[in-house]
Amino acid sequence: MMAEAPLLEADRVSVSFGRIAAVREASFRLWPGEVLAIVGESGSGKTTLLRALHGEITPDDGRVLYRTAAGETVDLHRLSEPRRRALARTEWGFVHQNPRDGLRMAVSAGGNVGERLMAAGARHWGRIRAEAEGWLARVEIDGGRIDDPPRTFSGGMQQRLQIARVLVTEPRLVLMDEPTGGLDVSVQARLLDLIRSLVGELGIAAIIVTHDLAVARLLADRMLVMQRGEVVESGLTDQVLDDPQHPYSQLLVSSVLQA
């Protein structure tokens, strides 16, 4: 069942770096609880688009509309910075490709998970701790490691910790930039499984940027295919992957080795 208004709407978003047009007139809608994959090769503008959606870079043209939990529709790039930051730490989450960008490496796992709670105003140590313990269990990290800093964790554990840190405030929208990049296939599979079950359980809407079509196939309801800054094809994941229409999508699908 779909709610009547989209959660996030990108309306002809364009971003250029000097003479290079990184994203050209990208438009799409994301509905509550939906998972959208953005695929494309390196340099196709998918990460730039994601950063524009997150408000980190201001698009040269177009706008990004977001419907808040209060039911108000706001233009992300016109919001005041305090407002945008408040949204970013309560209603959204961002999962970085490299967990080092998303975690505080010198702070314990528990502190990492608790940071967003404390930023949102939690001031009861025992409850913050209990919440962190619960989330470590949900992302399959041994509770005995709660006071260890993430630099002592493996790559897969760091990535799972980053996900726990983002999901602890139960955001409505999570943006993920290559969440499985740099992990070996078996760890990738477990991580994907975890993301799929958590996103399903919490009913979170997610946008996942990836160059890995298997990730899109497993997680996404719909996908966008980007090439040279433009969205060349969009549709239901199975539809795009099984019956690609655009020559570039066809090339992308046929480049994957069939195991």
Binding site: E81, P82, G114, M118, W125, I128
Partner: protein, 299 residues
């Protein structure tokens, strides 16, 4: 109280030139108007090294007038090198009256302590600050920490306290304990013991902070709320040695531990020398009163 003297004619009054003093006063006015906010200022070279109180001295030089009485303390004591040399400096360059009595002073420059005797209205206390940015060790980027102050985005500060409790079972921070000033800005109180934090809250005196190397001035106007950060289930607890002063017997003052021989002997004494001396003059006696070490020096 030492009488006023004629300042050394080779220097402008208060060492700094008039334009510099005006610049510092403008920064001070802004700091008072925005309690706890760090105001950048064009810190000058002073005739002593950074880290010895150059920030505090510049603030003192800017507020000192001819009617003022100056007291300088270092770790609570009036007779340590830093305190003596700064006091002598101001006697020489401004001819100001000086005192060791908290009650007589109108301007008190301090390093690491707030006097035990409660401050009154119309007194000014000037703190020497080595690191004005409470977020420095948590967030290395200056641009980001300024933005965090601007947006009151202070979750990170509590992460630090969370870590302390996770590791040690309690907040072990015992000095430079971060405070929330006027319900808005998180501020480093300079390395005073957390024992002194409650004295800053709602104080009738004007509190000024100067960081010379970091080029920042900030202030707490009189009667401003100053709350030490904590958790609901781990409330702020000012730290103090569980003993009493061996000279004057005070049970509620901040104590220094002093090793007195090579056989494990030690004594606790009030770190505030003026407070301790006044109590002894009033007849209070501690465990080691009368001991050779406890004889009161005559100035």
């Amino acid at each position: 109280m030492t009488p006023a003297t004629t300042p050394d004619a080779a220097y402008n009054e208060g060492y700094l030139d008039e334009q510099t003093k005006r610049m510092i006063r403008r920064a001070l006015l802004k700091a008072v108007a925005i309690p706890g906010y760090q105001v950048p200022f064009a810190s000058r070279e002073m005739p002593l090294a950074y880290g010895w109180g150059t920030g505090g001295m510049q603030v003192t030089a800017a507020v000192l007038g001819q009617g003022d009485v100056l007291k300088v303390i270092d770790q609570g004591a009036d007779d340590t090198t830093n305190a003596v040399s700064i006091r002598r400096f101001f006697t020489r360059v401004s001819g100001v009256r000086t005192t060791e009595r908290t009650a007589e002073a109108t301007v008190i420059q301090t390093r690491h302590r707030i006097p035990e005797e409660p401050l009154r209205a119309h007194q000014i206390i000037v703190y020497q600050v080595p690191q004005p940015e409470p977020l420095r060790k948590l967030e290395p980027r200056e641009t980001e920490s300024r933005r965090m102050h601007a947006l009151a985005d202070y979750g990170l500060m509590h992460v630090k306290l969370y870590e302390d409790i996770a590791r040690h079972g309690r907040i072990t921070l015992s000095y430079d304990y971060p405070v929330l000033v006027g319900g808005r800005y998180i501020m480093a109180p300079s390395p005073i013991p957390s024992f002194d934090n409650p004295k800053m809250d709602n104080s009738p005196a004007l509190q000024l902070f100067g960081a010379g190397r970091e080029k920042r001035i900030y202030a707490i106007p009189p009667h401003t709320s100053v709350r030490s950060l904590d958790f609901e289930d781990h409330p702020f607890h000012p730290w103090r040695a569980t003993s009493c002063c061996d000279l004057c017997g005070a049970e509620d003052s901040y104590l220094d531990e002093v090793v007195i021989d090579d056989r494990g002997g030690r004594m606790f004494v009030c770190s505030d020398t003026d407070w301790c001396g006044q109590r002894r003059d009033a007849g209070h006696r501690g465990r080691l009163a009368g001991h050779a070490l406890a004889r009161k020096e005559t100035a």
